[in-house]
Amino acid sequence: MVNSVPFGPTGMSVSVGDHICAFYRSSTGRDEILVPFLQVGLDRGDKCIAVLDQADPAKLRSQLETNTDPDTTDTDDQLAVMNSKDTYLKGGKFSKMAMLDFWESAVGDSVKEDKYPFARSVGEMTWALRQLPGVEDLLEYEAELNHFLLKYPQVVLCLYDLDQFDGRVVVDLLRTHPKILLCGTLLDNPYYLEPHEFLNRRAQIAT
């Protein structure tokens, strides 16, 4: 198994198991990251899972299928485009355990059955701005997600709108993600905190 896979945006590569936090401004900036990330996955034969909040799922699927060869790619199965209401906020609340189970099912089932050698997932995180139960567990969820990433050959991309998230959340995200994508540059974060570290420090600061 290879350790490096093409990322998509700006022609970069990422390592298997990377959890990437991408910051953008405006829907155009978002699509400039989202579309190439999935397009490369479709072209490579990866399982592609997109959970959208403000982007239009049908429009994204249409856009990706336009650039995909129908003879070699069965996008109906390879590409899963879902809505945050049916995933992150299923039942009108956020549950980090339920969401981790979702990923286990969505990614695990695809990879374990050898249907796909690799999975790439992307989540549009603006759902976390809604005042709904469980949303305050976002950073804990992001920290826990690092553990899940080690289980399967995969990468996960989290999309954050800088115009909507405040600096405190942004700093916490920067501290919990091993890789950061901003301004078209992929930055390594050697000092990112492991989930248990971050959660402990957060508890300390709170006290």
């Binding site: 910051f23 401004r25 800088l162 115009d163 405040d166 600096g167 405190r168 942004v170 700093v171 916490d172 920067l174 501290r175 950061i180 901003l182 301004c183 930055l187 974060n189 050697p190 000092y191 990112y192 905190l193 570290e197 420090r201 600061i205």
Partner: protein, 560 residues
Amino acid sequence: MTAETVVADDELRGQLSRLNALLVLSMLMTESTNEQQIISLGASAAPSFAACRLVGVFTHDGETTVWTPGDDEIIEAPPEILDLPSDGGAVEIAGSEWVWAYSLGGISTSIGHMVVAASQEIDQDGRFLLRVLAQQIGAAIRNSRLHQFERIAAAELASVNSQLESTVHALAQRIEIHDRLTLAAVSGEGMEGIANAVHDVTGLPVIIEDRFGNLRAWAGPGGAPSFSKDPPARREQLLRRLLREGQSTWESGRVMCVASPRPNSVGVIALIDPDRQARSEDLAALEYGATILSMELARLHTVADTAVRVRRDLVEDLLSGTGGTSAVQRGEAFQHDLNLPHRVVVFEGRGRTRDEDQFFTAVRRAARDFGLGSLLVARAGTVVLLTDRDVKWEDVQANVIRELAGGHCRIGVGGLTQVPDDFPTSHREALLSLNLINGKTGEHHVVAFDDLGVYRLLASTKDSREIEKFVTQWLGSLLEYDERRNSELVHTLYRYLECGGHYDETAGALLIHRSTLKYRLQRIREISQLSIGDADVNFNLQLACRAWGTLKALGSTGRS
């Protein structure tokens, strides 16, 4: 590894994690061009770097001061902020034990402060991170302002460039218009050329009119446009308005411009534009066309004035006998072969008013109508014409009267010239004929020297002394009486004899009563001691009277 080492490593890792986050946050802030976004993103991150809360951010840009509160608890800036040194310091806020204002930027480049509060003084690492955060916020804001300034400068530059481009384009168009119209002016194409050039440039039909509204030239698709002429008074009113405004003016579906190089020279150039499609550059082309038209009108008037002057000089030289060979050559310029036999014809008269220009114009038009040429000048109350054509001069005289719409006109026609040097002689003959008309009855308006009979013989005599002796012999006593008594006995005798001795006709010609005539004739008989009824005496008296009249006419022509 001891427990202390583990704790130290853990602390170090935590600090490095925050530093790394601060570094990336700085990159995100620097990437933003919106000052409020920078403050919102950067300042709201303060609690992530130390156990504190954000009170607010105070910024100034040299003109305005802005306070951005951190939360809803404090909505007004602490007053001490304004008095703080640029590197910041402690601030008093009720309810908070420790409040600190961090400078946004360096000491000399501070653009405000970030104020944070905590329930107790935060540790050194936390204070360091907050100071760096504030500095990075200041750097990002300065960068944003610089970027904004450059963007405005670039926009202004683009605007200036756009205006410059428009100006250059307009200038290029004007140069093209000037080039095209100047070419029309110098190519000698006249008014047609000017109309064509303005039409080429504007794409609109063009007309050129004289001051009376007569079409002089046009250019455009289809046939010549026809417009009903305004009444003279209205036309003059329009021209005065155009001259007063001095620029193109819309009038009755046309945009008009007046050309007037001198007060008595006026032309109008106009675009036919009922839908008002003319652009500003079209109007500029029209106005420049008016300038070129002014030049053309001035040129035409100069040419006309020069032609009149040269023609007058030529005629004067011929009449004074000083023309010589050059006169013949100058005559050729007017398409006159002066070597052909010519006559000098003198017109005398006036219209209902004493307007010499009106009389000259009437004679010139009559000469044109009868094809008599254009060698004519006004001279000493008469108009002198040199022509190589013979016509029925009574018709010419009638034509002049018609032109004058009344008044009177007498014509003296000189004899034919054989060479140009004969013009003075023909002129004298014409004057003699004209003067003899005055001695005839009112029915005679045209006298040709060739038809003068004995007058011609008398006038042609080189030495008049014998004639004078003859006149004195037969009329001396009467002339002496007339001079002494201021009477008109000689003139009465002359009329009586010319009328063949008819009383009524003579009295009518002299405008006197028949009995007065009889009395005068009786006095003539008594003074002259002559029998008028005697055929021989009658002949000699009539000849003497005609000689007297000829001498008098010659005296009027300047010949002694």
